[in-house]
Subunit: 398 residues, 2 copies
């Protein structure tokens, strides 16, 4: 049996062993891009806006023509026409001239400001301007929003609605994204059934839980189903999953000896990189490489399986997708003391109480109800003896 690693060592081992694995890239329609991960930086190929635009309804002017204007001494400018929305203003404004313009309209050459209609009067082809305009007042300059050549989106970004707007503005209708990694799930245990359980049996929870978590992490999932704790059955399942997936999750049955069986199956087909992480929950985690693909042995306990997925497997997924590392979601203040002296990094499901302070999800040994009730989780360092009431803690999203 290999030595137990710290969580940081375990994550580093997974990242090192899988560093050379790369995902395929595909080009997809912009309309399908929400939530996918960019496979390359996006550099603006044009200016946004592509021309100087007004931000008000009124008159395009040469700012210098309005200097000194006020309500007592308006500037008088000749109205030489109107620029309609969407029209190319392909003429030059000369000193002493102005032109009618609507919000978003293109400034003609020479014009360098716009005056709101509320600060003007017009009669017989003349415009009276009651307020001086500074250069580029009420104007969005060419390239001011996005500048041609600027890196606007980074490789590894999970595409949001706002980023879709950026791509639409630039006319990018096809987006280069990483193909979704495929993760396979095997749920093992002599007591685990997918049909109605008899007394002494329980339903398979981990297949559905992990499948949803895998999808939420932006991956495809292949569910092999529940398998008894028999060497040949698990080995056959592993082989089938390796043929279909980029990585395999084997959530272990809880019977004694099963974990060693998983270790020995992985060893027979490839390499076991570690067995055991000094974290709670999640101690009996196994990680190996088989046929160049990562195989994760997760605890059978659903809460533990979920945390190992969240903290270890998701780090692997994020690295493959070039995503930024996991950050705390927010911080909160503990409403109670939390004891801990386990000598392993501990992860605890939390809720907010009525005052908005942080409390652990109350439970004796509930499993599924804890995870379902949790509004996030906190980490207690390996050497901490616990956390005192009033401590400000980082809270991570589940």
């Amino acid at each position: 049996m290999l030595s137990v690693l710290s969580k940081a060592q375990a994550v580093q081992t997974v990242l090192d062993k899988t560093a050379s694995l790369s995902l395929s890239i595909e080009n997809i329609e912009l309309s399908e891009a929400l939530g996918r991960t960019l496979a390359a930086d996006v550099v603006a190929a044009e200016n946004i806006p592509a021309f100087d635009r007004t931000t008000v309804d009124g008159y395009a002017v040469i700012a210098a023509d309005t200097f000194g204007a006020g309500s007592a001494v308006p500037a008088q400018l000749e109205i030489v026409g109107e620029i309609h929305m969407g029209e190319n203003a392909d003429f030059s404004l000369k000193s002493g001239q102005c032109v009618r313009i609507s919000t978003g309209g293109m400034l003609p050459q020479g014009a360098d400001a716009a005056v709101m209609v509320e600060h003007t009067d017009s009669e017989e082809g003349l415009c009276l301007i009651y307020q001086s305009a500074a250069p580029y007042e009420n104007v969005t300059r060419k390239g001011e929003d996005i500048c041609c050549g600027e890196k606007v989106l980074k490789k590894g970004s999970v595409i949001t609605a706002a980023q879709i707007a950026v791509l639409a503005a630039l006319g990018v209708r096809q987006v280069s994204v990483f193909c979704k990694p495929v993760l396979a799930i095997i749920s093992t245990g002599d007591e685990i059934v997918q049909e109605k359980p008899r007394l002494g049996q329980i339903r398979d929870i981990n297949t559905d839980l992990l499948a949803a978590a895998v999808r939420q992490a932006g991956c495809e999932v292949y569910c092999y189903g529940a398998v008894k704790d028999e060497r040949e059955a698990i080995d056959t399942a592993l082989e089938a999953c390796l043929a279909r997936a980029d990585a395999v999750l084997i959530s272990g049955g809880s019977s004694a000896g099963t974990k060693d069986m998983t270790v020995s199956i992985i060893e027979a087909r490839g390499e076991v990189c570690f067995h055991g992480i000094a974290m709670k929950p999640g101690k009996p985690t196994i990680f190996g490489m088989v046929a160049g693909k990562p195989v994760f042995g997760l605890p059978g306990h659903p809460l533990a399986a979920y945390f190992v997925f969240r903290l270890i497997v998701r780090t692997y997924i994020a690295a493959r997708l070039s995503q930024a590392p996991d950050m705390p979601h927010k911080s909160g203040v503990l409403a109670v003391n939390i004891p801990s002296n386990h000598g392993r990094e501990e992860y605890l499901c939390i809720q907010y109480n009525e005052e908005g302070a942080v409390v652990p999800v109350h439970t004796k040994s509930g499993v599924i109800s804890v995870l379902s009730a949790a509004q996030g989780f906190i980490k207690i360092e390996r050497n901490a003896e616990g956390l005192l009431k009033g401590t400000v803690v980082d809270i991570y999203a589940l």
Copy 2:
């Protein structure tokens, strides 16, 4: 023209006018349920676990038989067998007896505790127990995780991986969810084009932006496309959208007079409920009911269109789906003073600086780059004259 409402009045009007509209319900497979919204409470039809289970590898005992046991005076119990994982323990333990058991195994009748194998020795059919066990020590009792008859999930919940685990544990393979509302999008403006823009024109951004936002809110989207600011064209688009969708979003062109055209089109076909909200951005928002369906007139400016979607349209969607109202995401400390004296509720895109404090997204008049760079937004109350550096502000997710 109708009077300008406060944002709260606008939201209330939308909710009142659409209160009687209900969504259809469909039953879907549990594997498809992630992110969908529950259409009914889920009440547990069984106990989880369905039987008393051990949480350790060791021996199932009658706790009273171990009282007073210690390393010097171990309790001696007769080992009467072993309970295998998944097996129904259909016999009764008598005083003086114990049985081998693995983590997750079913306790036989009479047994009320489990002793870890580490605290025992066994020889010739006898088990020596070196530590006294309290009643129900190392045991998860029947119904302790979820109790039969307990309401485990609430109508209106957006289904998470953890909730899928709860449903899987209870054997619920079909889930009753709300059908996704269909929202149609029309983007209007003489300067808006979907092909490569000529000088003076700009690309349609709002169709893609709003479509992504609609999908993210758990709805289906129908994109009508870009339409010129012509009464007949917009009216035809509205009619086509009403035939296909539960609600219609018309993002207005920015040309003067367009908003009044949208108002008049809605008026001709139904009722305009308000035109104008005292919020920034988002002032020129229109809301009406046509053929029993809500029609939202959004500003043409993409940032403003997005905020109106986020604050008004999403409230309508959430109400239809029985979802809980929008809550701040977290709080933060302002790194700078933020002036504001607009007399309207103001919404501002924010980022975190290197120290984790909150700063507005720096911009002169950028539009798309602001939204894309934002990590959330804050609200400045209508009567506030701004916010001082150091103020703790609520931050909402975009």
